[in-house]
């Protein structure tokens, strides 16, 4: 219930700002954590130039449609692509109203280190973050079942 309210609030904020994509810096890891305020959430890192990421975004788009309370943060690593392309991709999968961020540091390794020193940039990369902040990393495409399973367990 808490999550639903929070997500609702997040969605309202997101739509009010008309599909904002926030700059993801080294401090944003904590900002994302604080934003979900102790609720479990899923953080997904993706890129336009990663074919499996598109499949994952499509899955997430469908899930968000069916489960508008899905606590998910999306982070695009496409800081070298025009912002319009990122927005276009988000719109294509109908996830522009989700909690969207985009890498914003000249040294992406700094962000990778802040997120997870054992992540080397392979995509898609996801983190299931539990209510107490425990993170479980996953490289590669997430199945819909994996996401649903995580939702049910939490």
């Amino acid at each position: 219930m808490g999550r639903m309210l929070l997500t609702l609030a997040a969605l309202l904020v997101a739509s009010a700002a008309s599909a904002e994509v926030k700059p993801f810096t080294a401090d944003s890891v904590n900002a994302v954590q604080q934003q979900w305020d102790g609720e479990p959430y899923l953080m997904v890192l993706w890129s336009i130039d990663c074919p499996p990421c598109h499949k994952e975004l499509e899955t997430l788009g469908a899930l968000l449609k069916d489960n508008p309370d899905l606590a998910v943060t999306l982070v695009s690593t496409d800081q070298d692509m025009p912002e319009a392309q990122v927005m276009e991709t988000l719109a294509r999968y109908k996830i522009e109203a989700a909690d969207n961020w985009r890498f914003a540091d000249p040294v992406p390794a700094r962000l990778r280190q802040a997120i997870d020193p054992s992540w080397y940039g392979e995509l898609p990369r996801s983190y299931f973050v539990s209510a107490n902040g425990e993170r479980k990393g996953h490289s590669g495409l997430l199945s819909e079942d994996a996401i649903r399973g995580w939702l049910q367990n939490d």
């Binding site: 800081q79 070298d80 000249p106 390794a109 990369r125």
Partner: protein, 445 residues
């Protein structure tokens, strides 16, 4: 990573942090910018600033994203890079201290893949023919054609680019690399999705892409029909190619093995058009339904092949080195430690050099390890140079005598750094450096 845009962004962030309406002149050697980046600033509000961001400025090597060098057999260094629709080339006769004026290769502009894993490249023929190779981006995402241009007059003029891939389909032909042997035969290898597209059309499963190959025996006037070397290669990793003692290709690449395991394989040749089956060279068990964007590196010297690669597999994680031997391949040796990425390797006789980069203590640092016995034993890892801002993959290049680190950084521009020639030289250099930078060294490794 796009150095140009990143630099632009960084300047904008600095400008925002300083409360300026628009960025001032980009200052080389600024020591505070990257730290300030962490404090935010408005993303995407990049105001034009600095010589590299000025759309009317002349194209410059120091503003290029992924400049790639090669030495000719006459010792002249050539370097190629991309800017705003054009492939450029320059040469240097003083090992990169000064360069000739940039010359545009293609007269008609075309969009080009220009990033660490898929970058314009130059190779020199036995009579110093200049050959250039790049991926032209097509209208659909992840599609491209392999493009080739040559100069037979020392770089005064370049041929109109031709496609190396023999099909015209708007699909992925990407991540090319090439070599020219002493007979002047040109070998090109690339990632090709024609088999994936065919499988899709037939409603069949097909993992990854395929490896295709083209050869030219007429100094690059034409390429023979594209030949498939392997199905199910990784679709987003650079390929490494070197020449064996017969001047035939040795290819190291990431293959998608059964179950979606992305480990490495080697393909060798017995003549221009006869290749071995892929031989698996690592059992890392990296099962990944995703993009590593992290291809391997290869060097060949005598009858030995030297391999370096990255994996995040079940059996191994990090950077690894192995060499071929009569009994197959040596046991993988870990190097680089946590955070190490982008391995490169170069060999000259029994001298072998490994490099990589790693982000540590708020700077991106390049490191090396040297062997003077064909990779049987190695020096300790030593830092070479570092940078505060954005950087390209560090590359290795040799002039037949020395091995150099070639590195593009947003802060310092292009740098070619000669590397030590022996483990003794590394050790001698290390003892002085250790006293000066003991903390840095310890922390970094």
């Amino acid at each position: 990573m796009e150095i140009l845009n990143l630099r632009l962004m960084r300047v904008a962030v600095m400008a925002a942090a300083a409360g300026l309406a628009s960025g001032g002149v980009y200052a080389h050697g600024d020591k505070h910018g990257a730290h300030n980046d962490k404090n935010g600033g408005h993303h995407g509000a990049a105001a034009p600033a600095g010589p590299c961001a000025d759309p009317t400025a002349l194209p410059s090597l120091n503003c290029a994203k992924s400049p790639t060098p090669a030495f000719g057999r006459d010792g002249r260094l050539w370097i190629t890079w991309y800017s705003r629709g054009h492939i450029y080339i320059q040469h240097s006769d003083d090992n990169g201290a000064t360069f000739s004026a940039p010359q545009a290769v293609n007269s008609i502009p075309e969009p080009v893949d220009d990033q660490g894993e898929d970058r314009p490249q130059v190779a020199l023929g036995p009579r110093n023919e200049i050959y250039l190779l790049w991926t032209r981006k097509l209208d659909k995402p992840y599609t491209g054609h392999i493009r080739f241009s040559r100069s037979l007059d020392g770089g005064r003029s370049f041929s109109a680019p031709i496609n190396v891939n023999d099909d015209k389909d708007v699909i992925a032909h990407r991540f090319p690399t090439f070599r020219v042997n002493d007979r002047g035969e040109i070998f090109v290898v690339w990632v090709d999705k024609r088999d994936l597209e065919a499988a899709k059309a037939a409603n069949k499963e097909y993992a990854g892409a395929a490896l295709y190959y083209g050869v030219s025996t007429d100094n690059g006037a034409t390429f023979q029909t594209s030949r498939k070397l392997s199905d199910n290669s990784c679709e987003c990793c650079r390929i490494a190619m070197e020449l064996d003692e017969q001047g035939l290709p040795v290819i190291l690449y990431r293959q998608v093995f059964d179950g979606g395991v992305r480990d490495h394989a080697v393909i060798t040749f017995s003549d221009l058009t006869t290749n071995s089956a892929p031989q698996r060279v690592s059992d890392d068990q990296w099962k990944l339904d995703g993009c590593p964007h992290h291809g391997p590196a290869l060097a060949a010297s005598g009858d030995r092949q030297h391999l370096a690669w990255f994996t995040a597999g079940e059996n191994r994680q990090g950077l690894f080195y192995a060499h071929s031997s009569k009994d197959g391949f040596s046991k993988p040796m870990a190097f680089g430690g946590p955070g190490a990425e982008r391995p490169m390797i170069e060999a000259l006789g029994d001298r072998v050099v490994l490099t990589w980069k790693a982000f540590a203590d708020d700077r991106t640092r390049t490191f090396m390890q040297v062997s003077d016995n064909g990779g049987d034993s190695w020096s300790a890892a030593k830092e070479v140079i570092n940078t505060e801002g954005a950087s390209d993959h560090p590359l290795l290049v040799n002039d037949g005598d020395k091995i150099y680190l070639s590195w593009q950084t947003a802060e310092e521009g292009y740098r070619l750094t000669p590397l030590p020639e022996s483990t003794a030289e590394v050790a001698a250099n290390a003892s002085t450096k250790d006293t000066e930078n003991h903390h840095e060294h310890k922390e970094s490794l």
